[in-house]
């Protein structure tokens, strides 16, 4: 958690987006993570996605738990409010925050220790509640801050830096998220920004629980032979099912794709997910098929990436609770307090 702010000098020729901000306006403080850390690449992808989506930086609320990954929100969208919560329990804080103000864009950043070990319960429940958010796990299979212990996503049989083999089964967060009811589930690799940036954009515009598992190698403790979360291993075993273009609702251009090479998913708000298919006949809207394909990948030792599952017309927690359209935190005394006359009637009913 750095306290060093980046110098605010901008090159005069930096291009501004429609919201009037340059890419640098979406940056945060200087990262204190190790040079080459996959997490910094993911932060860069988030910065790129926010810039390209013309988001007002202060409309983002970024929340995290504890761990290397959970430090990352300091390093992007510096003009937004952030909340480093406690270990494994960011999901509940984000759920509450989302209930209070449905209008902000919620970005949850977590790690595999944070979400798959101590926080697995809260992870499962935020997915099943359909909180409108983008939840990114920066997944390196290892505890970095405490120097190299296995996390719950480390594959069985993978070897630690000290040469110890992991004897426990791993938790696949993508499968968990689909099973629990997330309506947008993808997996990507920190070293593949062409796949990752559009995935983040699409997730951020998805009006429901969006989950991205991003394999993010730990250069210090898990980037060696025997690791299944190293740069080399992931590059060699990446099985991309699709690549994505995200097109906002206002720009409906769908003409430039030849039939059979791409599929288009139109979301409820009119935005389009254009998927260039790499996997044969892969349909990301088929939940059962998605689960099957992910499990097949796991069995084969592949890292299956891309948009794995999407429900284009999701409902979210606010819809389920039938809350008013305005943020609950904007309601005032007159909106909320029933007043003395109603109280007199209540008193009368209690005699």
């Amino acid at each position: 958690m750095t306290f060093i702010a980046k110098p605010r000098l901008h090159h005069p020729s930096l291009v501004k987006n429609k919201a009037g901000f340059t890419r640098r306006d979406y940056e945060g403080a200087v990262s204190t993570l190790c040079a080459g850390c996959g997490h910094d690449s993911i932060s860069a992808a988030i910065i790129q996605a926010c810039y390209e989506l013309d988001i007002l930086p202060h409309q983002v609320a970024k929340l995290s738990g504890i761990g290397c990954s959970s430090k990352a929100p300091t390093y992007f969208v510096g003009a937004s409010h952030g909340f480093n919560t406690v270990h494994g329990r960011m999901p509940s804080v984000m759920t509450g925050a989302n209930l209070a103000n449905r209008d902000l864009i919620y970005m949850g950043v977590s790690g595999d220790g944070d979400s798959a070990s101590i926080g697995l319960g809260q992870f499962a429940h935020i997915m099943r509640r359909g909180v409108n958010m983008t939840y990114i796990v920066m997944n390196n299979g290892v505890y970095g801050l405490t120097k190299g212990q296995f996390s719950a996503t480390a594959d069985k049989g993978s070897i630690s830096k000290k040469g110890v083999a992991n004897s426990d089964s791993s938790i696949d967060l993508v499968s968990m998220a689909i099973l629990m009811g997330a309506t947008f589930v993808g997996r990507s690799f920190s070293g593949d920004k062409h796949q990752l940036v559009p995935l983040i954009k699409a997730a951020m515009m998805h009006k429901g629980a969006a989950f991205l598992d991003v394999i993010s190698p730990c250069v210090a403790f898990n980037n060696h032979a025997g690791s299944t979360k190293s740069y080399e291993y992931v590059r060699e075993h990446n099985e991309a099912l699709n690549r994505l273009d995200f097109i906002e609702g206002r720009a409906e251009i769908i003409a430039d794709y030849a039939p059979g090479t791409a599929t288009t998913v139109q979301q409820h708000d009119g935005s389009l997910l254009r998927l260039r298919k790499l996997g044969e006949d892969y349909d990301p809207s088929d939940k059962i098929a998605a689960m099957k394909r992910v499990q097949e990948g796991l069995a084969a030792g592949e890292v299956v990436t891309g948009l794995l599952y999407v429900d284009p017309t999701p409902t979210d927690l606010h819809a389920n609770l039938n809350t008013v359209d305005v943020p609950l935190n904007s309601l005032q005394t007159a909106d909320l307090c029933p007043g003395p006359q109603a109280l007199d009637r209540i008193n009368a009913s209690l005699r």
């Binding site: 510096g78 409010h81 005394t333």
Partner: protein, 614 residues
């Protein structure tokens, strides 16, 4: 006939039942009917921690004087549970009455010579009238209420009126209940001497405009009036009915008239950790939020409570206390979570506690807690308990000032930021220890900050520098001192005669204490009293202790937790504070308090403590 207690509008009836037999509503009907006759009642549910089959009791104190604590002792036992027969019979005061189902004859050894016995063949009456097993069970309860109404002179019209309110629009149920009531009345009128029981209810005018309500219901209403829009909770006895009542109140009072949409969100979380996490997230984002729980829930929440304290995020936690430690006594009452709440979490933490005495204060303090949480930007605990929370209690009616608006505390707006007002999230600009905050999304370029549980400087930037840390911790102490000034102040009750003795008490002990003070006064023991209503303690508490030679501290826990907190907050001679402790899980009684204080006062008079110590 043995000696017989004679009393009008001043006696205790206890019903011993089997859990799940449907007796609860009949017993409550009995209490309410007396209340409708203008005679105050104070009922208590005494129930086991299980679903069905085990013993359950309902004790009704009928008291024209208006004493609402437990008195102790039983004048009339309605013994409907064979399992607890022996204990129940033992509990009756000499000259008291035993009312039982005489369908099966009991051996004479099962009775007591100094107790008057009234048998009514309830099962036989039911079996002769009803064929359905459940009806036989349920109406047995109404039949004993009918018989008791004859013996105690309770106006049957009041009971019938209560039936008609309860079964409005359900004529069939209304008729069958009225019939069962009449069955009991007829049998008693034909077979029993009207004077078999010399305990009588006479119409009075002692209830006034008071309301009859459970503390959990009242606290839930306080949350509605205080503007809570987010409630996250996890079921736990005895607090669950609070969240459920909040839901019911919101359904009636908080839907947008045009769209029908809810101006609130209630989430039954996956556990207590998540429920307090949601409260903190919502409050961080500018909504008023609360949770309701009990001791074991507090244990689970402590990590998050520490975060809210150090990151300075408002949160309201209503702790309906039960017997501890651990799972403890889930359905019994205690005041034993003071330590675990006041100092919840690791490191140097101190939290604000409010101690309501009755449902009226549950209402007021829960609404107040939402204001205090925003003003102080910290967790606020409303320390109620099972005794207040799950029992109907007579109390002054709820009041709300039409002019009152929510106090949102120091929140810097976009306009203020735009005008160039200095924003440092943890900067003490007013000297009261309370900084300004901004809600997320306030301003495109100004006022954003990072909230974290780690140490930081005045501008919310991470800093491990010693002086910065110390400065922050000292500011938090200043904030706590501010809390002592703005939280509910203690109330003092002075003895008519000057005295060197004082007594401090809090929360649900209040009604028993009020009565105990009368008893002590009548016996020539003069004591001044102070009811503490919040922690941190205000200066008035220290002044009160210094004004007296000895101060009794009455509380319902083993370790004298309030006494310890007084010792730790003030510079006191430890010998000055004398504990009066009751912690068996039942609500403390006036008899207990008066007897214990009288005994200890006697000891002081024989040998003064100072002499004994030297």
């Amino acid at each position: 006939m043995p000696q017989a207690i004679t009393a009008v509008n001043d006696f205790v009836v206890k019903f011993a039942n089997v859990n799940g037999s449907g007796s609860a509503s009949a017993n409550e009907l009995f209490a309410r009917a007396i209340l409708r006759m203008g005679v105050p009642v104070s009922p208590r549910n005494i129930f086991p921690s299980n679903i069905q089959g085990l013993p359950t009791w309902y004790e009704v104190r009928i008291t024209e004087k208006g004493y609402l604590g437990r008195r102790g002792g039983v004048d009339l036992m309605v013994a409907m549970n064979p399992q607890t027969w022996a204990e129940d019979v033992k509990e009756i005061e000499p000259g008291g009455y035993l009312f039982y189902d005489s369908t099966k004859p009991m051996p004479s050894s099962a009775f007591r010579d100094d107790v008057n016995v009234i048998g009514v063949p309830l099962t036989a009456i039911c079996n002769a009238t009803y064929t359905d097993a459940r009806q036989r069970q349920l109406f047995k309860n109404i039949i004993y209420v009918g018989a008791l109404s004859v013996l105690l002179d309770i106006d049957p019209k009041e009971i019938e009126r209560l039936f008609s309110e309860q079964y409005k629009g359900k004529e069939k149920l209304l008729d069958s209940n009225v019939k069962a009531l009449q069955l009991g009345r007829d049998w008693a009128a034909q077979h029993l001497d009207a004077d078999a029981v010399r305990l009588k209810v006479r119409r009075a005018d002692a209830v006034g405009d008071r309301i009859f309500v459970e503390g959990n219901n009242a606290a839930a209403l306080g949350a509605v009036y205080g503007g809570a829009t987010v409630c996250a909770w996890y079921p736990i006895t005895p607090s669950s009915s609070l969240a459920e009542a909040f839901s019911n109140h919101c359904k009636r009072l908080r839907h947008d008239k045009e769209t029908g949409k809810a101006k609130y969100a209630i989430v039954q979380a996956e556990d207590e950790l998540a429920s307090i996490g949601m409260v903190i997230g919502a409050a961080w984002n500018g909504a008023r939020a609360f949770t309701a729980t009990s001791g074991p829930g507090i244990s689970l929440m402590t990590e998050f409570i520490g975060l809210a304290y150090f990151a300075e995020v408002p949160a309201v936690i209503v702790n309906v206390q039960r017997g501890g430690p651990s799972t403890g006594m889930p359905t019994r009452t205690q005041q034993s979570d003071l330590f675990s709440c006041a100092y919840a979490s690791n490191g140097d933490t101190k939290h604000v506690l409010l101690f309501p005495e009755d449902p009226r204060e549950c209402f007021e303090f829960t609404a107040e807690a939402l204001d205090l949480a925003d003003r102080l930007q910290t967790p606020i605990f409303v320390m109620t308990d099972l005794d207040i929370g799950m029992n109907h209690r007579l109390c002054r009616p709820f009041r709300w000032d039409e002019q009152r608006v929510f106090d949102r505390g120091k929140v810097m707006t976009a306009e203020e930021l735009e005008a160039g007002k200095t924003f440092g999230r943890y900067l003490d600009v007013d000297g009261d220890g309370i900084p300004f905050r901004t809600y997320p999304g306030t301003h495109p370029t100004k006022g954003s900050f990072f909230t974290r549980g780690t140490t930081k400087n005045e501008y919310a930037r991470y800093s491990e520098e010693g002086p910065v840390y110390v400065r922050n911790m000292e500011r938090l102490q200043r904030k706590f001192a501010t809390a002592a000034r703005i939280a509910p102040q203690p109330l003092r009750y002075s003895s008519p005669k000057a005295t060197r003795y004082g007594v401090i008490y809090f929360g649900s002990t209040s009604p028993a204490m009020a009565e105990a003070l009368d008893h002590l006064e009548a016996d020539g023991h003069h004591v001044n009293a102070l009811r503490v209503r919040s922690f941190p303690f205000s200066q008035a508490v220290e002044d009160f202790i210094h004004e007296h030679d000895k101060v009794f501290v009455v509380e319902q826990n083993r370790d004298g937790q309030l006494r310890s907190m007084l010792m730790s907050e003030f510079t006191l001679d430890a010998r000055k504070l004398v504990s009066v402790l009751h912690y068996d899980g039942t609500p403390i009684t006036a008899r207990f308090i008066a007897a214990d204080i009288a005994k200890k006062l006697g000891q002081f008079k024989v040998v003064s403590f100072d002499k004994a110590a030297s």
